[in-house]
Symmetry: C2
C-alpha cells in the first residue's frame, strides 16, 4: 500500500520512488497525546504537519472566552498556523489534539527547499492551496447566506466521518452556532 | 516604470526582462464598460484576469434575491471564478464591472504552461494563493466573531482606497450586514 503522503501528493503529480523517498526524508515523525497542544498562541511556528493518525483542531479564543474553530484535521489532512508559518510571525491561533496523534512535520526551510528542487512539489503546494481557498470561500458563503440547519447539514454531507468523531461543542464553534442549536440539530 | 503585473510577480520572485516579456506574451487585453458582466452564472470560465484599471466584484444571488459579495478587485488584483476556472465546471458566482475596466486575461492552458516552463511563476501562484487563503481565514473569523461595526472598521482600515469607491450596498453584502446598518456606520 502506498504511503498516505505519497497518495496525497500523487492526486496532483505522479512521483517516482526516488522522488517520494527524497520528499519523505525531509519529514520528522511527531507523536502527541490527546489534549496536548501542537501550537500555542504567540508561538513561532516552524513546521507544517501532515496527519497520519488522530484528529486536531485550530481555534482562537476572544476576550470574552468565546472560541471559534478555524479548522479540523484528520488522517491525510495538513494543519498548521498558516499565517505564522508563512510570515514568521507569532501564532494568533492555537492547535490542540482532540485524540492521540501521529504527525509528520516539515520545516519551512525544507518546504521551500523541496519546492525549489522539485517542480512537482511546488505544483502540489499551489494546487492544494487553491483547493483550500475554494473550500474556504464556500464555507464563508454558507456562513453568510445559510441557516444554522443548512450549515450543519452541509457539514454532515461534506464530512460524514467527522460529525460523530468530534465533540459537538467544537462543531458548534466551527459552524458559528450555539451549543443549544447544535444539540437540537443532532437530535433530528 | 515597471509594468504593474511585473511589480506584482516580483513581490515574490525577481524576473529577467526576457522572463517577463515571455509571461506577458500569454496575456490578452480585455476592455469592458461599467455594468457589463465578465462572468455569468453557468458560464464556463476559461480565463483569470489581472486588473490594470477599474473595479469589479464577484457575487452570488440566493433564491430570495439576496446577494452575497465574495470579492472585490481593483488595480493589480486578480479575479476569476476560481473553482470553475480550476475544475472546468460551470460558474456558480457572477462577476460584474463596477467601473469601466481594463484587464489582462490569461487562459487556464497558458497558466499551466507558464507554471511548467518557469518555476518562478509556479512559485508566485503558490505564494499568492497561500496569502489569499490567510486573508480569507481572517475574514471568516471576523464574520463569526466580530460585530457589524468591527467588520466595517476592519474593512476601512484594510482597504482605505475602497470604501468610498464602491457602492455601499455592495460593501454591505460583502460584510454580511444590512443596508440600514451600513448607512449608519458610514454616517459615524
Amino acid at each position: 500500500m502506498s504511503h498516505p503522503l505519497r497518495t496525497h501528493i500523487e492526486a496532483v503529480s505522479k512521483l517516482t520512488d526516488e522522488e517520494f523517498d527524497h520528499i519523505l526524508s525531509h519529514f520528522t515523525p511527531v507523536k502527541l497525546k490527546k489534549h496536548s497542544s501542537l501550537v500555542r498562541e504567540g508561538d513561532l511556528v516552524k513546521h507544517e504537519y501532515f496527519v497520519l493518525k488522530g484528529c486536531l483542531r485550530s481555534y482562537i479564543t476572544d476576550n470574552t472566552g468565546k472560541e471559534f474553530t478555524y479548522q479540523f484535521a484528520v488522517e491525510t489532512w495538513w494543519i498548521s498556523e498558516r499565517e505564522a508559518f508563512m510570515k514568521h510571525t507569532p501564532a494568533s491561533t492555537a492547535i490542540e489534539c482532540l485524540e492521540d496523534c501521529q504527525l509528520l512535520a516539515l520545516s519551512y526551510e525544507d518546504r521551500e527547499k523541496l519546492g525549489r528542487e522539485l517542480w512537482k512539489y511546488e505544483h502540489y503546494l499551489a494546487v492544494k492551496s487553491n483547493m483550500g481557498y475554494v473550500a474556504l470561500q464556500k464555507r464563508l458563503q454558507l456562513m453568510i447566506m445559510g441557516s444554522a440547519k443548512e450549515r450543519f447539514e452541509n457539514f454532515v454531507h461534506q464530512y460524514p466521518h467527522l460529525y460523530n468523531r468530534i465533540p459537538k461543542t467544537h462543531i458548534a464553534s466551527y459552524l458559528g452556532v450555539s451549543r443549544e442549536t447544535i444539540s437540537r440539530l443532532y437530535r433530528k
